[in-house]
């Protein structure tokens, strides 16, 4: 089949988040003409609004703090929370190369991280770095600056509409809608872009696609909020499936248990719960004042038990625990976290029955002394009883957060065809658009290393595909 092309690049990348930008930067090492297409009017996707938590095993900060860790332990944690839905060969790569990826962001991009580690739910040890500004923008901005330096255009308002194959089980280019206005699917003008080496799909998840996520999991009704950016919709995934990609585990959609009822989306409250409220405080049912779950479980366990409860829940932390929060000032300013001088005031304000709450705290404190918790929270020496005022509370509301499902790739980031079960030629994918790396539930801070690692692999391999010949721009 002969096609008219409007433009030609060597490597064409769809999506300007961690995965797409890492692919672009890496591809540029091997070839000159690289382009990134982004459908939104602003670059960065979920990556730019994410919490900037980066989990890695065997890092310099762990060594500095005497924390023993290994890729094997990280992999075991991933498989446990993922309930072994994970493709082990892909999960292993994330665990084994997490530190290498972290160091790449420091050495290649000059990303700055806070000097202490966080202990995020589901991880056996503290292994999470935080970007200096507690946001993924702390990584996306240097990536965009790098792209500018390397002359990699990031074309905004350019939406992938279709893949174009060469009739020979390989992708030859894409159809893009230029001057696209999200979310109007018919807006913009179609243009055909040829990739003389390969196409990399890095278009993220679909947590904001109310219709599509309900098709995959009917329990996720449209009134459930999401932490994601508006553009996290499924059309690129559908295009990929149409082009022969293998969809996997699409119903594995994660809700974030730590989000706040008092602000939209991820906001500033999520990090408060994740870094302070859950690891160093307790979660209680407001109707009873009781704990009901190990606060340091992975997200799936937490959300399932919160939803089973059927009532509202809050997290409580004291003056000691609040020290781990990176977003406290903003939380207080926005009224997302509230501060009380006594447990009595906290109970009254949150409509929690006082006596049961006091008893709950007493029994939690004594389990810390005993070194054993009936909900299975791991009692470590950094954990202290809740007893020093002021006390802080946050009202929780699970929100749709991450798509563990997506399209199937292999360890080279090649997209696997559903017909052949072999790689589709010149077609790569990386990041949240891919599926099965995290299985049933992704651990906190594991998306950043995964997206950057596979983005780099996809970019490098795409750029090393043999050049297609011919002068297609003049072809009829």
């Amino acid at each position: 089949m002969r096609t008219m092309w409007d433009e030609e690049f060597e490597v064409v990348i769809i999506g300007s988040g961690f995965a797409g930008l890492a692919a672009a930067i890496e591809a540029r090492k091997y070839c000159d003409k690289v382009v990134v297409f982004e459908k939104m009017p602003v670059p960065g996707g979920n990556s730019s609004i994410c919490g900037g938590i980066f989990s890695a095993a065997g890092t310099p900060l762990q060594a500095e703090n005497g924390i023993e860790d290994s890729p094997a332990l990280m992999l075991a944690d991933m498989l446990a929370s993922g309930q072994r839905f994970n493709y082990p060969e892909l999960a292993r790569m994330v665990a084994e190369r997490s530190t290498e990826t972290l160091l790449w962001t420091i050495e290649e991009l000059d990303v700055k991280y806070q000097p202490s580690l966080s202990w995020v739910g589901g991880h056996s040890v503290p292994r999470s770095y935080n970007t200096w500004n507690a946001s993924g923008s702390g990584i996306v901005k240097p990536m965009l600056a790098k792209c500018r330096e390397l002359n990699i255009p990031v074309r905004l308002k350019s939406c992938l509409a279709n893949f174009v194959d060469d009739g020979n089980n390989a992708i030859e280019g894409v159809e893009i809608r230029e001057e696209y206005i999200f979310p109007k699917s018919e807006s913009g003008t179609p243009k055909r872009i040829r990739a003389t080496r390969a196409v990399v799909l890095a278009s993220g998840g679909f947590s904001q696609d109310k219709e599509f996520r309900a098709i995959q999991n009917p329990r996720l009704t449209e009134d459930i909020e999401s932490t994601n950016h508006q553009g996290a919709t499924a059309e690129s995934l559908i295009s990929a499936i149409r082009a022969g990609a293998t969809p996997v585990q699409l119903s594995n959609i994660q809700l974030g248990p730590w989000a706040s009822r008092d602000e939209e989306g991820f906001g500033v409250g999520s990090l408060f719960s994740m870094l302070a409220g859950f690891p160093y405080g307790i979660i209680i049912d407001v109707s009873t004042g009781n704990r009901f779950v190990n606060e340091q479980s992975d997200r799936k366990l937490l959300v399932d038990s919160m939803l089973n409860l059927g009532t509202e829940s809050i997290a409580i932390v004291d003056q000691k625990g609040v020290a781990y929060a990176t977003t406290l000032d903003q939380c207080l300013k926005r009224g997302v976290v509230r501060k009380f001088d006594s447990i009595e005031e906290l109970a009254a304000s949150n409509h929690v029955p006082l006596m049961p709450l006091v008893n709950t705290i007493k029994s939690y404190n004594s389990s810390i002394e005993k070194g054993e918790d009936r909900f299975g929270k791991w009692i470590h020496k950094g954990l202290e009883p809740i007893q020093y005022p002021p006390y802080y509370s946050i009202r929780l509301l699970p929100k749709i957060h991450h798509c563990m499902g997506g399209i199937r790739i292999n360890t080279l980031a090649q997209v696997i065809g559903i017909d052949t079960r072999r790689p589709i030629g010149r077609f790569y994918a990386a990041g949240e658009i891919t599926g099965g790396i995290h299985g049933a539930s992704r651990l906190g801070g594991n998306a950043v290393p995964e997206c950057i690692l596979f983005g780099r692999i996809a970019g490098a391999n795409a750029a090393r595909e043999p050049l297609r010949s011919g002068h297609p721009l003049s072809q009829e």
Binding site: P41, V42, P43, G44, S48, I49, S135, S137, V140, K141, L144, A145, C147, R148, V154, H229, G265, F266, G267, V268, Q330, K333, G335
Partner: protein
């Protein structure tokens, strides 16, 4: 958006540029006022919403909030609302596009992170000196998400709410305007260059004229004067007549030559043939030509035949004299 449309309309209207730019300016300041009004209304609505806490908002309040946020979102300029900590508490879609940041990233960010250092100083100065309701503008350097800088105009208005200080900033990305100015500057430069070129051309015409005069002088020296000399030396009447007519012709060619048309065919002629043509042109008979050029009659006749051939006159009822009369040789 609406403002953009009207602006485009204005651009279409057939009137002087000055009137157009005046109209656009008025429209823009009206739009700015509208935006400012909308923002304060919006912020007030948001404030009551927040203070109401868990209480349901009245439907009236909800509608007006919706209207104002619709205005807020759709205006063509970027709008930021800044609080006493110099943090952004509200930003519209256009502001996001101008800085390449998601609204989630703008909210809570220090406004100083959006400009270079001098820009941040100007803002600090505005924040500390503006009184309630007062407005000031400044041109600053904005910073895009990838570090690229761009020219921007910031219009800052202080507008307090519930006893708290707030500032609204209208952000205009001046890249296009600056580009237009640059284009104007470039066009001006082109015109100046063209002026210079014209001057040079005039100069060279002057030079050409001089050259031409020199050429005439030298022609007079090399051809006319020798002819006159020959005339005065010759004894034969016939020959003198020939030279006189030649002289006349040469004088004519000096003055009129440039107006005559140049004929392609003439270029094919040999030197002797041209000489013969000139004599024919001057009205000499073949016999006179024989005498003047010291050639045999037959030779002259052969030359005439060849000339006719080269000028493509064979088979045509046109004598050479008539043909050559108006041509430059």
């Amino acid at each position: 958006m609406l403002v953009q449309c009207i602006e485009n309309e204005i651009a279409e209207i057939e009137t002087s540029e000055k009137e157009k730019s005046e109209a656009t300016r008025k429209l823009r300041s009206a739009a700015d006022l509208l935006v400012i009004a909308a923002v304060s209304e919006w912020a007030r609505a948001a404030e009551t919403g927040k203070n109401g806490g868990l209480l349901e908002k009245s439907s009236d309040e909800e509608t007006s909030e919706k209207i104002f946020s619709a205005v807020f979102e759709s205006v063509g300029e970027g709008i930021l609302l800044i609080d006493k900590d110099m943090e952004i508490v509200k930003a519209n879609r256009r502001a996001c596009e101008i800085y390449g940041l998601m609204v989630q990233n703008l909210i809570g960010a220090k406004v100083s992170s959006l400009t270079d250092e001098p820009g941040a100083h100007i803002l600090t100065e505005f924040f500390s000196t503006l009184i309630e309701g007062q407005r000031k503008s400044a041109e600053v350097t904005g910073v895009y998400v990838d570090g690229k800088t761009f020219p921007a105009t910031l219009t800052v208005t202080r507008s307090d709410m519930d006893g708290e200080k707030y500032w609204q900033i209208i952000v205009r990305d001046d890249t296009d305007r600056k580009n237009m100015e640059k284009q104007l500057r470039e066009e001006k430069q082109i015109i100046e260059e063209m002026n210079l070129t014209l001057k040079n051309v005039l100069h060279s015409i002057e030079r050409d004229k001089k050259e031409f005069e020199n050429r005439v002088a030298s022609k007079i020296r090399t051809t006319l004067l020798p002819s006159i000399a020959k005339i005065s030396k010759t004894t034969s009447d016939g020959t003198r007549k020939v030279y006189l007519s030649l002289l006349e012709q040469q004088l004519l060619s000096l003055t009129e030559g440039f107006e005559r048309e140049l004929d392609g065919g003439l270029l094919k002629l040999s030197k002797t043939e041209i000489e013969i043509c000139r004599l024919i042109q001057a009205g000499n008979s073949s016999k006179e030509i024989c005498e003047a050029l010291k050639l045999s009659f037959d030779t002259v006749q052969t030359h005439r035949r060849n000339i006719r051939k080269k000028l493509d006159l064979n088979g045509r009822k046109l004598n050479l004299h008539a043909y050559l009369l108006n041509r430059m040789l």
